[in-house]
């Protein structure tokens, strides 16, 4: 086996995006945003997502094990970008308002989170290189030669069959039931739309009482629904049918219906809301 026949690293390839205002690797897009050289609000995340799903399907078709890894990673980064974008889209400028200051801080925190995630991702790459380099060395680990083995003190065995069975039971039962596998449920979510979720929210908020955001998403079946409901609230805020109050960064977000009884309808979101998220990835992503 030639060294060059060993699996090579995935190389520069990876996921690239083509947007109106940017074309190139996703990594580069991220670093442009990180360096403030590109405004997050100018990035059409729905388009990025579409392209990513196409890319992931293509990977899958060629049976690349990278598909699942890249999909998981993309979801993390996309969720952070979405948070970031949502924070940026909120009205700014009137900084005398305490609420705005809090939102700005929240935005910075989200931004820091993205950077932190990127840092750990980079370090993980370094660890990978180290671990791979080290795995080329095999430690000497051989059975003792009989002469030396004879020096072992004679085994002092005091365990009865009953005690032994108890140990076995404890060890074999202690295992948590859930098998250790990569969760792929998040790749199978049903299509979730801002419009539908806004409809749901409007229904709940119709009672005119303040609702905590946590309560509003308590029945959400997935993180995707939570994110989309959050986006829906932003849209509704822009349409001035809800009021949002948050006491401090990461504090509970309180939502109050201010749209009166007038006929606000989620259909108004049709124009520029993101399209329904594309169909879920087919099952059986190679792990």
């Amino acid at each position: 086996m030639h060294p060059e026949e060993l699996p090579v690293s995935d190389g520069p390839g990876g996921f690239a995006v083509r947007l109106e205002n940017f074309a190139g690797p996703f990594e580069v897009l991220l670093s442009l945003i990180a360096k403030h050289e590109m405004d997050i609000t100018q990035v059409a995340l729905a388009t990025v997502t579409d392209e990513f799903l196409q890319y992931a399907r293509a990977l899958q078709e060629v049976g690349s094990a990278r598909a699942l890894d890249e999909a998981s990673e993309f979801l993390v980064v996309a969720a952070t970008l979405l948070d970031l974008k949502a924070a940026r889209l909120l009205p700014r400028g009137e900084v005398d308002d305490e609420e705005d200051v809090a939102l700005l801080e929240a935005r910075d925190l989200l931004f820091a989170r993205l950077l932190q995630y990127k840092a750990f991702k980079e370090v993980a790459g370094i660890l990978d290189e180290r671990l791979r380099a080290e795995s080329a060395r095999f430690p000497r680990s051989v059975p003792l030669d009989p002469e030396a083995a004879a020096a072992l003190p004679e085994l002092d065995w005091r365990t009865t069959p009953g005690q032994f069975a108890r140990i076995a039971r404890a060890v074999l039962e202690a295992r948590p039931g859930a098998p250790a596998e990569v969760g792929v449920d998040h790749l199978h979510g049903a299509a979730v739309t801002v419009r539908d979720e806004a409809e749901v929210l409007a229904g709940v908020l119709a009672d005119g009482r303040p609702h905590g955001f946590r309560g509003l998403v308590a029945d959400a079946a997935s993180m995707l629904v939570v994110v989309v409901r959050f986006l829906a609230l932003l849209e509704m805020y822009r349409d001035a049918v809800v009021d949002l109050v948050q006491e401090g960064p990461l504090g509970e977000l309180t939502v109050l219906w201010t749209g009166g009884d007038a006929g606000w309808s989620a259909d108004r979101l049709a124009d520029d809301a993101p399209e329904p998220l594309p169909a879920p990835l087919p099952a059986g992503v190679p792990a």
Binding site: M1, H2, P3, F138, P139, R140, S141, V142, P143, L144, D145, E147, A148, A149, A150, A151, L152, P153, E154, L155, D156, W157, R158, T159, P161, G162, F164, A165, I167, A168, R169, A170, V171, L172, E173, R175, P176, G177, P179, A180, E181
Partner: protein
């Protein structure tokens, strides 16, 4: 030059590596966990068996402190290890003169009783045999390589066979284990709950 009994010689160019063929043979002998024959070495290194034989002789002389190179007039000290040939092949061992030292070291680190980790691992082997180290690790949630080796050394556990699919070594308990437990056969082990949760799924995610 006799061609090695493989298809095309596409193997690694060991001569180009630091230390050459001699170091390559050493590397294999140091890490191999069982004796290695000349033919296996020649096949892996894609060199004639005669070359391997020559290198082995030279290594043995070096380790023993006998200069292999007749032109060498310096002194060579024997190393603390030696190359021995057994029926099964070649293997590096501690030099026999140092057996008392090695024994002192081995005795120092070992206790007469099994550690809790060893007992738990033994319990998994006893109730789930034949079982691979990977699966024991999965059940116990820790790397068990060292503990399994201790149990083998203690004569309580042995290699039974290789798994047909994965090629992993499967372990089981020994007659010595039955003797220590005071039972005549594995059937006499006390029953534990017949259907433990989660056991069936274990096979699915071994890596």
């Amino acid at each position: 030059m006799s061609a090695p009994d493989r298809e095309d010689p596409v193997g690694p160019d060991v001569e180009a590596l630091p230390g050459g063929l001699k170091a390559a043979v050493e590397a294999i002998l140091m890490a191999a966990d069982e004796p290695v024959g000349e033919h296996a070495l020649a096949a892996a290194l894609v060199v004639p068996v005669a070359s391997v034989q020559r290198v082995l002789d030279r290594l043995r002389a070096e380790y023993d402190g006998r200069p292999a190179d007749p032109g060498y007039d310096g002194t060579l000290e024997p190393r603390g290890f030696e190359l021995r040939s057994t029926g099964a092949g070649w293997r590096i061992y501690s030099r026999s003169e140092f057996a008392p030292v090695v024994s002192a070291f081995v005795a120092e680190g070992q206790t007469a009783r099994l550690s809790q980790a060893a007992l738990e691992t033994l319990a998994v082997v006893a109730y789930r045999q034949p079982v691979s180290r990977g699966r024991i690790s999965a059940i116990r949630g820790v790397n068990v390589d060292g503990v399994v080796r201790t149990l083998v050394q203690r004569g309580l556990v042995r290699e039974l066979e290789r798994d047909g699919e994965s090629g992993a070594v499967l372990y089981g308990t020994t007659a010595f284990f039955l003797e220590k437990m005071g039972i005549g056969s594995l059937d006499e082990l006390p029953e534990i709950a017949p259907h433990l949760p989660g056991i069936d799924q274990l096979d699915d995610y071994e890596d």
